[in-house]
Symmetry: C2
Subunit: 324 residues, 2 copies
């Protein structure tokens, strides 16, 4: 986790921008501007809408990355948004990750994978890359992720391959512990016969999974996802998991506040990074400056300037309230 | 679930072939045979091993699909194996799904996705496809899946979008309940304060999630993944979840037997489909007929004939022991 912690220190900003584009979040003239470009590249006209969105998502993300790269330490693309439009979207996802890394950002791939041991080892290719049969020293890295999120429901053998891959490649993982959504309580808050709740049991597993990978800043390579919508539980988890760095989604659009996430940071103001997605990438919609007759370039400029302002506001909010 | 149940009845075979290629499962001359073809298609020579594997995986799968299409009702490609080699692998995955559907097979995408509501809705695009801004009646379907597997850790709001998409597209989902791997017990067997184990609580949720989508054969669109490695628990779950169809992984290579899975079928011999992956797609390795100096075509012929024999043996094993 050292690379992420140092990136946060350099930016003096414990926040990450969620790059989760949807058709509604990309100005329509940006999507429309790629109509001609994609028409020649698809075999079947039915593919055009998806191909157009894929190109538009990448250009949208690029505009945002350029606007925030000197403010934030990291971005978190949510692969679901890209899978929603098929393999063309997956290409836009990897291009986004690669471009963000090129701009010096730590890339947290929000992929929430999880499977039995042998299959988890395949998923861990996200971190380890592909080694050819001649075993060249430098594997090909198609995904360009510095960390990925992982689901704990399969237990240790579904996690170990990711931890091993992370350790070998100087990368990290974040395991779901307490998610930000309303119905997360249905499983995660279940009371166990031995005492405590399911998410607390998962928290203890996560702390253990990371124990062999503690870095120079005191945190392991196995982080935890703890939603900003659970401030008290998050503060208790901070005590319970002293070696586990937190990824905190749910700030902003989902209702989490800087005061609410304060307890998820340690006494040095480290230990967590807070994500905002729609609040930053959709900030252009709330400026009152958008016009239907803007060109695609003008619309992307507005997306970028609004995202920069929102990312800066979030940084300042976190600096005042949690990051000392 | 009606389409799957009818496909099983037509084949008189409740089994599904797991299309989970790995570098070790594809004969090396098949991979080597695509060296020239991919060299011209990549921008960076580092991409060659992954691009070669991607083409080889598709040709390997096609040989197996051709060999088993008249024996089995369904295939289950495991997307992790394809993601392991990056976006080129994802293309091989969708091409495999499309080809299998063209051969009349039901395609069960083993993707184990799961996220908060708004994100789950994006993942549900796997089932619903992409609708263009002009809202044409027939969405573009980039994934070619008839069903997908889903992780329950996020609760109802992470499941509902998949159920809605499945109902709209005449497709299905299978939610992880009791997985086949050794450490599945760490979470799934936890005793709850209110009695019962976590996987039983998940089982009750799954039965409820499907309740509005019961088909003409008595099973809902929300199936459950129940590992063949837990015969007694599986039989108890069969009683507990009368409207839930089971996907049963872990037969063969993982140690599950036909006798062990018998209790997961209902009294009519329906209610479950059993997966085998390595036991079928890797059967060529156990024939004693493979030679290093075979051509790529000869090696694929051996893969196909061995897979057909193994799939036929599995069908007969299940017919004798469970499918009456």
């Amino acid at each position: 986790m050292d690379r992420l912690i140092e990136a946060i220190e350099n930016a003096q900003n414990p926040s990450v921008v969620g790059l989760d584009p949807t058709p509604a979040l990309v100005p329509p003239q940006v999507v429309a501007s790629f109509a001609d470009e994609v028409r020649d590249s698809v075999e079947d006209p039915a593919e055009i809408p998806a191909a157009q969105l894929a190109v538009a998502y990448f250009e949208f993300n690029r505009a945002i990355i350029d606007a925030v790269a000197d403010i934030v330490p990291a971005v978190k693309p949510q692969i679901a948004m890209y899978e929603a439009i098929g393999p063309a979207g997956v290409d836009a996802y990897t291009m986004t990750c690669e471009y963000a890394q090129q701009q010096g950002l730590y890339v947290l791939g929000d992929i929430k994978r999880g499977d039995i041991g042998s299959t988890a080892a395949a998923y861990a290719g996200h971190l380890s890359g592909v080694t050819g049969s001649d075993g060249e020293a430098q594997p090909f890295d198609p995904w360009h992720e510095d960390a990925v999120t992982v689901n704990p429901y399969l237990g240790t053998d579904g996690i170990t391959p990711f931890v091993d891959a992370a350790a070998a490649a100087d990368k990290d993982i974040f395991v779901l512990v307490r998610t930000s959504n309303p119905s997360s309580k249905e499983l995660q808050e279940l009371d166990l016969a031995d005492g405590g709740k399911l998410y607390e049991h998962v928290a203890d597993l996560v702390e253990g999974w990371g124990s062999a990978t503690i870095g120079s800043h005191g945190y392991s390579r196995v982080g935890a996802v703890v939603g900003a919508t659970h401030p008290e539980e998050g503060a208790a988890l901070r005590e319970r998991m002293p070696r586990t760095f937190f990824l905190v989604p749910g700030y902003g659009a989902q209702g989490g506040t800087a005061a609410g996430v304060a307890g998820m940071f340690d006494k040095n103001g480290s230990g967590a990074i807070v994500n905002s997605s729609r609040g930053i990438i959709g900030a252009w919609k709330k400026t009152g400056e958008y016009r239907d007759d803007m060109s695609a370039g003008e619309a992307l400029d507005l997306v970028a300037s609004a995202a920069r302002r929102a990312a800066s506001d979030m940084r300042d909010d976190l600096r005042v309230n949690v990051y000392r």
